[in-house]
């Protein structure tokens, strides 16, 4: 008997190798749901033809919300009827991505009842991604998820689902309670998550220390990155233990310190804490000997984004140090001030980082009432956005008076 040939030879290639394969997973889903087989066949066709068969956007959502559902239709509905509608639902993940097995089963059961059963844990913003929902199934899925304590996340021109590292729940380096802050901001800005009213997206990300495990500095419109303002804590005996066990402290720690503020004489490690830029390198290499200080908080940065419309941006410091204590009112006031300005003056699809680049950081700071400080300057004498006009004026006036 002739061996049955695969209908998806190109996709089958992606099952090879030791790593997880989305093709394997979709094939498993296809055993119980015809959406899975239509999806595989359409994808195989796209790979063969090198043509995308998905149409994007439009009006799909749940009642009252403008975000959290991303419309997808295929352009060959007669041939792939089970995935004629294949919308994505973004579900707000719990802070730190903690689930009980019961909660995970609940989400999966709901999704198998109403959708394709295919998930993506998690999307790049952090949400639980449920892939493949018919328009008619959106509202029942949402209602059932809501009954079980889950809500839809953000999409479009709104506050995207805030995300955070697991912070103090498991990480000794966390300089503030990231999960508490993330939850607080999520609840405060429910309206802004569900009802898009901005020029474009806005992302909040909370990292407990400068290791920045949620990549806030590169992805968030506003980043809250944990830091400290006293000295790095040091256990001198533990430093010697590292040396005894063969760590080359000179080569692997001292010479790699970006601020060149560590000295090691073979017996004692000295850190000039005033020059330290809090990069975490030395702490990462000697975690038993070094720890962040105890006067902790967060550095607030603004304006990063991945390269979609303009190129990629990294964040700029806007508040060098803030004690992260609830209810974070000063920060919320600042955020709302920035939103007002951006909504007023921002162009359609302009992220706040691009807006700042267009109007100039100096003008932006002035408009939102933040004083420029030295910590905002990445490279002394290279930064064009700080002007000291008032000092020039005073000096000029003094000179003029002297001349008279």
């Amino acid at each position: 008997m002739a061996e049955k040939t695969s209908e998806t030879p190109l996709l089958d290639e992606l099952e090879k190798g030791p790593w997880p394969s989305f093709v394997k997973e979709i094939k498993m889903a296809a055993e119980t749901n015809p959406m899975g087989s239509d999806l595989l066949n359409l994808l195989e066709r796209s790979y063969r033809e090198k043509i995308c068969h998905w149409k994007h956007g439009g009006i799909v959502g749940v009642l009252g919300y403008g975000g959290g559902v991303i419309g997808r239709y295929n352009d060959l509905p007669e041939e792939y009827p089970h995935i004629a509608h294949f919308h994505t639902m973004r579900i707000n993940q719990p802070a730190g991505w903690y689930y009980s097995t019961k909660a995970l089963r609940t989400v999966c059961d709901i999704w198998e009842r109403h959708g394709s059963g295919i998930t993506n844990m998690h999307g790049s913003t952090g949400d639980i991604i449920l892939l493949g929902c018919h328009t008619d199934a959106l509202e029942p899925t949402f209602q059932e998820l809501a009954k079980n304590g889950f809500d839809i996340g953000g999409s479009g021109s709104d506050v995207r689902t805030p995300s955070c590292c697991l912070g103090q729940s498991r990480c000794e380096w966390s300089c503030y309670d990231t999960m508490a802050a993330c939850y607080d901001f999520t609840m405060t800005y429910q309206d802004e998550i569900h009802r898009p009213a901005f020029p474009y997206k806005w992302k909040f990300k909370f990292s407990g220390c400068p290791n920045d495990c949620v990549a806030a500095i590169a992805r968030a419109d506003i980043s809250f990155i944990g830091t400290w303002r006293d000295d790095i804590r040091m256990d001198k005996d533990a430093v010697l233990e590292y040396a005894d066990r063969g760590l080359d402290i000179q080569k692997d720690v001292v010479e790699l310190c970006p601020a060149k503020c560590i000295a090691w004489d073979g017996k004692e490690l000295c850190i000039d804490n005033r020059a330290c830029v809090h990069c975490m390198h030395c702490i990462n290499v000697m975690p038993k000997a070094l720890r962040p200080g105890t006067d902790t908080g967060a550095c607030i940065l603004i304006g990063s984004k991945a390269p979609i419309i303009e190129g990629a941006f990294l964040s700029s410091v806007i508040i060098p140090f803030f004690k992260m204590e609830p209810p974070y009112q000063e920060l919320k006031d600042l955020v709302e001030e920035m939103w007002d300005l951006w909504c007023e003056e921002g162009k359609n699809r302009e992220r706040i980082g691009e807006f700042i680049q267009r109007v100039g950081m100096g003008n932006f700071l002035e408009a939102v009432g933040v004083e420029p400080v030295a910590e905002m300057v990445a490279h002394p004498r290279e930064n064009p956005y700080i002007f000291y006009e008032e000092y020039f004026e005073e000096e000029d006036e003094e000179e003029e008076e002297a001349d008279e």
Binding site: K55, H56, G57, G58, I59, V60, G61, L63, G64, Y65, G66, G67, I70, G71, Y73, P77, A84, H85, T135, S155, G156, S157, D158, D191, R195, P196, A197, F198, P199, Y200, D340, C343, E344, N348, R349
Partner: protein, 83 residues
């Protein structure tokens, strides 16, 4: 004197209806227009509530085409015809 939310919503609805098929309006475009039209009688908070009223009553819907807009409900162009 502050304008009632219902009246702001009605005025916004007219703008959305007039623009339908010609120009897509964002929630903030509606807010800016209201402030232009009614000055001190409206504020951003009241405008936000008015948009909410239009959406919750299903007289308007949010749409997404690269950005998020407020429009009248209509048949989704990308949806397959045999719905």
């Amino acid at each position: 004197m502050a304008m009632p939310i219902e009246e702001i919503a009605e005025s916004m609805y007219k703008l959305v209806a007039e623009a339908q098929g010609k120009k897509k309006l964002k929630a903030m475009d509606l807010t800016k227009s209201m402030i232009e039209l009614y000055g001190d009688e409206v504020d951003k908070k009241a405008c936000k509530q008015a948009v909410r009223m239009l959406i919750d009553s299903e007289r308007c819907v949010y749409t997404y085409f690269g950005g998020s807009y407020v429009e009248l409900p209509h048949k989704e162009g990308a949806a397959p015809p045999t719905d």
